[in-house]
């Protein structure tokens, strides 16, 4: 139940300019939630960000992505709602 400063919801694929910008904007108190095309970031080059990384499981399953990694947490829509309540601010990219 740790507090989050800003929750960044990132739905763009890694080639979209907002993807890199979002990652570079996140500070250590922030969380980044990859949804929709954003989860493809988990399949491409290593993601470098100061924030906590999470990904939406239904979108990962749709795209055939494995949730076996330990470098990020996977959540469902209930978890996404919980994140938005714990964050002081929510930004959708």
């Amino acid at each position: 139940m740790t507090k989050i400063q800003t929750l960044h919801i990132l739905n763009k694929s890694p080639e979209h300019p907002r993807f890199a910008r979002c990652l570079s904007m996140a500070s250590p108190d922030d969380a980044i939630l990859l949804i929709e095309n954003g989860v493809l970031g988990l399949a491409s080059a290593a993601i470098s960000t100061s924030g906590q990384l999470l990904a939406l499981a239904p979108d990962m399953a749709a795209r055939g992505l494995d949730d076996g990694s330990t470098s990020f947490e996977t959540i469902d829509y209930d978890g996404m709602v919980d994140l938005t309540t714990r964050a002081q601010q929510v930004v959708s990219w």
Binding site: Q5, P17, R21, M25, Q89, V91
Partner: protein, 116 residues
């Protein structure tokens, strides 16, 4: 409770930037503090001498110049992105403040949104 509206889409090719402006003007009309941040290709909104008559659109230069009169607190632009698009100070619309779009800037606003 100050809002930052982000514009990262260039003008005329799409409507998202105009719709972001409308959001900012709307907040200002309701006396809600709001600033605009132009970043990425969105900085091209700020170039002087736009003449969109041939593509049958209206220039947004006037709207942007009037933004502060209508209550928008600041027109911010990412300085790196201005450099990237060859926008020197002399070519920028007046009243634009160059900043670094980073986590520290975001921290000064309670709400941050794109139009699309």
């Amino acid at each position: 409770m100050s809002t930052l509206i982000l514009i990262d889409q260039p003008p005329y090719g799409g409507w998202t930037g105009r719709e972001a402006l409308d959001m900012a003007f709307s907040l200002a009309a309701f006396d809600q503090p709001v600033s605009l941040l132009f970043c990425g290709a969105g900085v091209n909104w700020l170039r002087k001498g736009q003449e969109p008559g041939q593509v049958r659109q209206k220039s947004v230069e006037k709207n942007l110049s009037a933004a502060t009169i209508f209550g928008v607190e600041a027109l911010l632009a990412d300085s790196d992105d201005c450099n990237r698009y060859g926008l020197e100070a002399a070519q920028l619309l007046s009243g634009v403040e160059l900043v670094r779009a980073d986590a520290q800037l975001f921290a000064g606003y309670s709400h941050t949104a794109f139009a699309g």
